[in-house]
Symmetry: C2
Subunit: 544 residues, 2 copies
Amino acid sequence: MLHGLMMDAPLSIHSLIEHAAKFHGKTEIVSRSVEGPIHRYTYEDSHARVGKLANALRRLGVAPGDRIATLAWNGYRHFELYYAISGMGAVCHTINPRLFHDQIAYIVNHAGDRLIFLDLTFVALLEPLQDELPGVEGYVVMTDREHMPETNLKGAISYEELIEGESDQFAWPDLDERAAASLCYTSGTTGNPRGALFTHRSTVLHSFAIALPEIFSLSTRSVMMPAVPMFHVNAWGLPYACPMTGAKLVLPGPRYDGEAVHELMETEAVNTCAGVPTVWGMLLEYLRKSGKALSHKPSVVIGGAAPPLSMIKGFEEEYGCNVYHAWGMTEMSPVGTCGKLPPSMDDLSKDERYAVKIKQGRAIYGVEMKIVDGDGNALPHDGKAFGELLVRGPWVISAYFEDEESTAAAFDGGWFHTGDVSTIDEDGFMQIVDRSKDVIKSGGEWISSITIENTAMGHPGVTEAAVIGIHHPKWDERPLLVVVPAGDQPPAPADLIEYLSASVPKWWLPDDVVFVEELPHTATGKVSKKQLRERLESHRLPTA
Amino acid sequence: MLHGLMMDAPLSIHSLIEHAAKFHGKTEIVSRSVEGPIHRYTYEDSHARVGKLANALRRLGVAPGDRIATLAWNGYRHFELYYAISGMGAVCHTINPRLFHDQIAYIVNHAGDRLIFLDLTFVALLEPLQDELPGVEGYVVMTDREHMPETNLKGAISYEELIEGESDQFAWPDLDERAAASLCYTSGTTGNPRGALFTHRSTVLHSFAIALPEIFSLSTRSVMMPAVPMFHVNAWGLPYACPMTGAKLVLPGPRYDGEAVHELMETEAVNTCAGVPTVWGMLLEYLRKSGKALSHKPSVVIGGAAPPLSMIKGFEEEYGCNVYHAWGMTEMSPVGTCGKLPPSMDDLSKDERYAVKIKQGRAIYGVEMKIVDGDGNALPHDGKAFGELLVRGPWVISAYFEDEESTAAAFDGGWFHTGDVSTIDEDGFMQIVDRSKDVIKSGGEWISSITIENTAMGHPGVTEAAVIGIHHPKWDERPLLVVVPAGDQPPAPADLIEYLSASVPKWWLPDDVVFVEELPHTATGKVSKKQLRERLESHRLPTA
């Protein structure tokens, strides 16, 4: 190999805020504070306080590689923690406060967090939990002296008291770009949460990729509001990509209700924003009820879950926004695809365009993607063949943090197994058709449970439907349709099968139909196929 | 150090074209061919031919690290060479055909090129030169059998003949991202040309950076015409950044005249383009003479040399384009700064905006920049202090290829010394005020020769002016003004000094004035300060 002759300049998170302070020094970060008022300052101001915080952390004995946790909303102090912790070589561990308390305890102990920085909101959450967190040496409440509450949290101190008196100059170390920089746990429906340990390199590369015009299109012209929490995979990387590009950041703090989100969008002239369907649903409802508009016609990026078509239509047709869906996973930093339509689709009809817009989108550069059958053979990009979705690339994790079992289950041959079953069409648009554990394996072929469910839901006699695979001696598995009937009198099973046969292949038709009063649901409102399978484990198909 | 847990996926040039083929497969590359007709195909087609070419190169015994040269215009075959050569692990060495013949010979021999791929245009150039290129094993003429000329070039074969019959499948190797990928020589006014040896890593990172909205803003909506040759620092990286982002590429082939460039811009709906002032000057002249318009109102990026203000105004005010200046160097891959104005300048007057537009622009993320005085102390960003411009970052070279002397002269303390003397203003906009070898060092302070020259040129009695430093026993150097008078009767020296004193600091005023019939010029039309200094070496200042 002939080595090239380029500077060995490691990619670093500190370089992002340093660049912003130097070249976009007067650009603002606007935050709704937990204390109430709107807080505003600049990248230059922020960089100075990041320096103070790093000095304070060093004074507390924080060393490279140490995990420092945050339990906080989107705000300027949380932003400072991102940069001070990672910049000094430690690991910023963002905790999702919406998890069950025992999951939070598991995560803090598994990560080995030494300190926890928490917003005022979460004092009451952590006080009763602290006895279960023996490794935590102290708690910093992200407020000032004036707002500091009475608390029995060990060594509790306010953030402002912690950093006051510190110098804003810090000798930022030259870090290996593969050093750990941040840690985020993903909680599945089963088992313990699993940690994704991101690096400086992966964070900077992911920032470049998502700032491109085809994805978030970030520049000095952008006013970006991440309405996705900074504890959700680092707010999809936006707190890193905005300083890189000189975009103004608008952080909505603890309030995700339609009124609060709308107010900030209007007063700060937000022209691009990102969030989950739940948040945008609340905003849409608020807009309709209040009769208010979105004056700056922002681009609305929806991720975290597939948006209903009605939501895309609502923002586009009623409020003049450009809406697109992006897909990713915690394990992918998180962005993997983006659903912007290429110019070759400009002449499609509105409905044809919507049919593409509800897909998960095309892989962004840097994310390799393939769909494979049960034997690992790559399937064609024809929009029909579906198989398990595998991804790889420099911002995809290679293992879960100290979790050999989960790692062994999800990684094989250099690829991460997403657990999703997808199609990819001729234009490269990926669409998720099922979870791999829910897909029904019948005679070596796969049947999409979601497709059958969505079709069955169209029948007037069906309120809710779920399809699961039931063991079959010949075919291995065959589909069972479980229905919550709409009226007192359930429809005839033969009627339902007849209805389905107009839309799904004959060999996909369920071998049996079961009527139930209600389906089991998870905490997030999805049908729990796992519970349903357990409940119907002993069901015997008439064809068996 | 705690290692993060991210996939060790090396950045690679092959991944760019592979991504384009998979996700932007139908997007076109349009080329004006050397043979005459317009050629068009897609990224998918291109990728297949890149595979064939790589197989042909392997058949010829090309091994990783080998240097393979090109002497070619911007066209699809040259594009294929970029990807086949670098993708298989060899080094694509682009040669500037406009260099003196002995420089070309020096470069080919210094690089150790094994093969040369050349456009039809350059057969006559290389035939008489080949005896001086003993290491070159063969020549491939970038055309088909039908257009293949009679030639005595060693082992001459046409490109199409070379690749026909090869498979389009190639097992692309997993390369170290720090492996050499391409080589480009830069020729100064003195000494031999010096080689910059780029890596896969530096190329991909530079692609990300220049594709951002603040620089070239590349996406599937872009139709980009690099009107800068692919032998000029890889056409500023655009042949890499376009496939990354799915942008359509329009390659102007051998014709840079206004008519040809305009024709392609219109027929292909070019909406963004990049080139040197000479090319844009020819286009502007053609537009004015022909009365034609630029229907697609492209963004025009001007680099390679500072554009005159009249050119920026011409494109913006007469043709509705958005023009901005970008600055870089071969040693920087090349892009270092870009002159797009941030929204904070939207309220400036037109003239104030132009005053910013003629500056070199702000550092793009990834390029660190500082200005230092003679002792290496960093100077403030106040738009006034000027010092030598130093840069560093992952796409800045760390050394010249096999050239210890030039390397020793240009690198110090991890920074590349650009040889430019600059200011940086409060908004981060850098402006070059002199070359460091031309700046006058007077009593430890620096005087900008260019500022005095530009002021002197405003005097009605002056046709051309140059300022050089002359040895002074007390001050080390003092400025001497050399003037080509406008009329038969030169202006009085005291008059000239009086005139200058209205605009430049008193201590900058030249200690003497010399009148000459003409100034020495370089091949590119610039005043040769080197020759002027030699000619006036023995000049004795009256103040000495």
